[in-house]
Amino acid sequence: MTGDADAAPNAAGLRRDAALERALLFGLSVPALALVTATMVLPVGWLFWLSLFDDDGQFGLENYRRLIQQPSYGRILLATFEISALTTLICAVFGYLLAYLLAQLSRRRAAILMIGVLMPFWTSILVRTYAWLVLLQRDGLINAWGMQLGLWRQPLALAYNLTGTVIGLVHIMLPFLVLPLYGSMRAIDRDCLRAAASLGANPVATFWRVYFPLSQPGLFAGAVIVFILCLGAYVTPAVLGGGKVIMTANAVASDIELFFNWGAASALGVVLLLLTAILLYAASRMVRLDRIFGGHGS
């Protein structure tokens, strides 16, 4: 007879197995943890530590005080957020149209077009940014063609300014918006759209009352990713902004390259990091809210 007496020793063994399995799982994640610590936690900690020393090596909050007192830093942070918001908005409009087109096609065709969306990822940002310069500058291709066709007489100022920066950023950021948005559009139950139609909704009402709300979580996720990536943009404003567009990352670079002021640069980095973290936190709360009522049907 196998009774409790036989089962008792098993319990101890099973507990040991469970503990062993936990230890093994932890062991497997150690390399990743070590990597994150070495490349993320330590540098950021070091950055924070550096930001607490001013020009003369004095420990204190001097760097942060200057960030608040000098209006130029405030302007740079504001410009960074403005450019990021503008880029996100334009990406949202173009990205929505693009994702909508992809979501209407058969999966096979959508996959082929998706390669076109992802292709820019295969070249470096630097190459893509300089390519835009070739197209956008005063005697670039777009101005040359535009004037040849008689669309405009004077060369348009498309590069070395805000316009060029935003064009370049939109191009780089678009895939980050399209991918999550496309995913959430594909997940929309076709029958929901049919149901809306059968209940009397014309195509416009079906879109705004059903399709758009159901695609919103993807749009929101994509917009958050784009916005946060834009906050840290460096190459695009540096090349296409022509020195007139200074975003936070450019200010950090000049603090270090021109003034060798690691403390000030670090403080700026820390502030941007904190602002981004706050934003991400706020966004994650909204996304989670979205998931509650934007979840997929049965």
Binding site: D189, D191, C192, R194, A195, A196, A197, S198, L199, G200, A201, N202, P203, A205, T206, R209, V210, P213, L214, I292, F293, G294, G295, H296, G297, S298
Partner: protein
Amino acid sequence: MAPDRSLPITVRQVTKAYGALRALDQVDLAVRSGEFLTLLGPSGSGKTTLLMVLAGFVRPDHGSIRFGDVEVVRAPPHKRDVGMVFQNYALFPHMSVAGNIAFPLRMRHVAKAAMEAKVAQALETVQLAGFGTRRVSELSGGQRQRVALARAIVFEPRILLMDEPLSALDKQLRDRMQIELRNLHDRLGMTTVCVTHDQREALTMSDRVAVIDRGRIRQLDAPRTIYERPANRFVAEFVGESAFLPVEQSGGEIRFAGQVLKLADHPGSGGPWLLMVRPERLRIVTDTATDATNLLRGHVLALVYQGESLLLHVELADGTRVPVRGSSARGAMASVPQQGEAVTLSLAPEDTFLLPNETSAP
């Protein structure tokens, strides 16, 4: 049936081809006003395509569809004014229960007070009073089914379409909902067309059943006629269990195993015929039974206990096999035969039904 609550549907010569496949092949169908009609067929038979054509989601290649006197074959779905219940309910996940049910009213610009009253009444009708503020994700499958139903009837459409409305529910709930759907139909009175592959569901709920195969309606009749007097072998095989026995024809008489069959209604001339036998219509009798019935002799090959019934596989004298179903209740059979035992089966003349022996018609 009040004429303002329902409309007849007339389908004429509707064809829909997908490449070489004819999903609908010149379908004619007249649904009476206020009728509960079920489209029954195996998967791929075209029954869902026909429903989608009625709803306006599938554009037929040609043909005519009338709701009452109005030709609607070219009308877009949102102008057809039909209620529809989808297989997976297709409730809007971003709206509350009340939001879902109010949707068709909002599309019709119904005033707020009237809208709230109608939503409350629809919830009452499907026995979900007080559920208005719930989220769809908080509901069970059966409750979602009811919300989908409430949403489809709240704007008082005169035609209600249902696509496998109960297929996502477990069996017990499905059995209960079949009765409920039927009661609801009787109360509201709209013309209802329902698609299902479940023959019991079709027989339980419908006034008439249209059995569909390969894009054609093979029989359109009341449930009892479909089951007891199938028009062809496909219908007989698809609806219920059955065995088919070869018969000989000589003069006006039809014989099985040398014995002249007693028939309630003689099929007349024509043929060749097959004898269709439903397992539960065969009765095990002692040899001295009255000769008012047809008697078949054989022996028991196997005996299967299936809960509410006993299933016997009987081999007849000529080697053909028939299933026999009897109640498993104690005392229902005079004596339960054992495997290998000789038995005599009796078949009432009313249940002795001859079917045209098509050589596997296309």
